[in-house]
């Protein structure tokens, strides 16, 4: 039987109260949202805390998806199912529905949250790659107020984020730009599994040339960092199969996969190339279909 080590359980009644508890308890405490990453780690004793602060009662205040003229703001407690089912989010960023359909399974998606996924900072986690692809920024709240960091600053390494001991990720912001679309491609060994490799792409067109494009990969290295070299190569070009091929080659060269039970390094580089190509192609097709 897998059971976590003993801890004290507290239930947060407000964001400020949760931060107050974290401030008092320091690194002996951890927030739990959906719990579908943290509890398995605690059951395996890979993570041990003296205090667990349950923030599920904050779903009402942190579970929003708010569409504004220049950005979409999503509360950290928005659950996977809500992200998948939001028509507004799906219209603006189809990459979300692409990714959410292949994150775990529907029952797990009832519990898991956007904030929890990002804070887990697993290198194979799909939403981190989505947020990187969409150039998201993260709002971190502490006793002295909010600070906003980019995904590159947020995701410091495997299981490590910019969120301090007395801080909490409260919101993720996605800039909205016209004439764009996005897509997510994932290869997994079986339904609901972690990615062997995933690639996200977002493209914005100006007329018939690429105004900006971003690619984010998952499961091919310690970070889900974006690939600025691909953005630089694509910007100002007309979309074409040759261009997607070149972007794929950069993706395969720039990532750092390791051979493990999910596949060899060589196979993963092949996937990085092919999935990047497919995600870019699908993004551009979606812009053209929408116009």
């Amino acid at each position: 039987m897998q059971v976590p080590a003993p801890f004290e359980y507290e239930r947060a009644t407000s964001v400020d109260q949760a931060i107050g508890l974290l401030d008092r308890l320091g690194d002996t405490a951890r927030l739990v949202a959906g719990g579908h990453s943290l509890l398995p780690m605690m059951k395996l004793r890979l993570a041990n805390f003296e205090y667990l602060i349950d923030i599920n009662d904050l779903s009402d205040v942190l579970g929003y998806i708010t569409v504004e003229p220049t950005q979409i703001r999503i509360g950290a407690m928005a659950r996977h199912r809500e992200l998948l089912e939001s028509a507004e989010l799906g219209r603006a960023f189809p990459i979300f529905a692409d990714a959410e359909k292949v994150i775990a399974d529907p029952v797990v998606r009832n519990r898991g949250t956007l904030g929890g996924s990002l804070c887990q900072a697993d290198p194979s986690e799909d939403l981190s790659a989505v947020c990187t692809t969409l150039n998201a920024s993260c709002v971190i709240r502490g006793r002295d107020g909010d600070r906003v960091v980019t995904m590159e600053e947020f995701h410091r390494g495997p299981y490590e984020t910019a969120v301090g001991d007395a801080e909490m990720l409260t919101e993720v912001r996605f800039p909205l730009r016209p004439n764009g679309a996005s897509a997510y491609e994932k290869v997994e060994r079986r339904a609901g599994d972690w990615a062997v490799v995933s690639s996200g792409a977002a493209v914005w067109l100006d007329g018939d040339v690429i105004a900006d494009a971003r690619v984010g990969l998952a499961a091919v290295g310690p970070n889900t960092a974006g690939l600025p070299e691909i953005s630089a190569m694509l910007t100002g070009q007309r979309p074409s199969e040759e261009l997607y091929e070149q972007a794929g080659i950069i993706a395969a060269r720039s990532c750092n996969p390791v051979t493990d039970m999910r596949g060899s390094e060589e196979y993963k580089r092949h996937l990085a190339k092919e999935l990047t190509r497919r995600a870019l192609r699908r993004s551009v097709n979606r812009i053209n279909e929408g116009s």
Binding site: P4, Y9, R11, L39, D54, D105, R111, G192
Partner: protein, 175 residues
Amino acid sequence: MQVTMSVNGAEVSREIEARLLLVHFLRDHLGLTGTHWGCDTSNCGTCVVLVDDEPVKSCTMLAAMAGGHDVRTVEGLEQDGVLDPLQRGFMECHGLQCGFCTPGMLMTTRALLDRNPDPTDHEIREAISGQICRCTGYATIVRSVQWAAAEQAGIRTSLPEQDDSRASSAVGGAS
């Protein structure tokens, strides 16, 4: 710590350790062993119960987290001696063999039919995609859920059409 929640409509309150998982609370503290405890890693889905009408894997939720919420287990499906249409569907269409996955399958598909009374095959398969059955190959489970959906809608006339071509070809191959 003290935890209080509604289980199958009745309020229960117990003194528990904070680290107690909901599945063990239901089975060991309340004696509701209908909820099965399987893989312990939120993969197999036999421990699914409804929390506020949503399916949740109870091996990956603390009992403490369910405090103040409405929990429904497989024991709560039958009402006044009448089995749920899903329970009857699983009987009619052979939706189980060993029965280990059945409590989770029943609860997940109960939630499915509550949201979507007329699901397609694909929607049923999608709903149970986080659950593992090693006996049926899923075809009879899908058929059982279809039976229940029709039963609920009051349009039961005959068993759903057999769509399990693999089963019939296997029989043919054995001859």
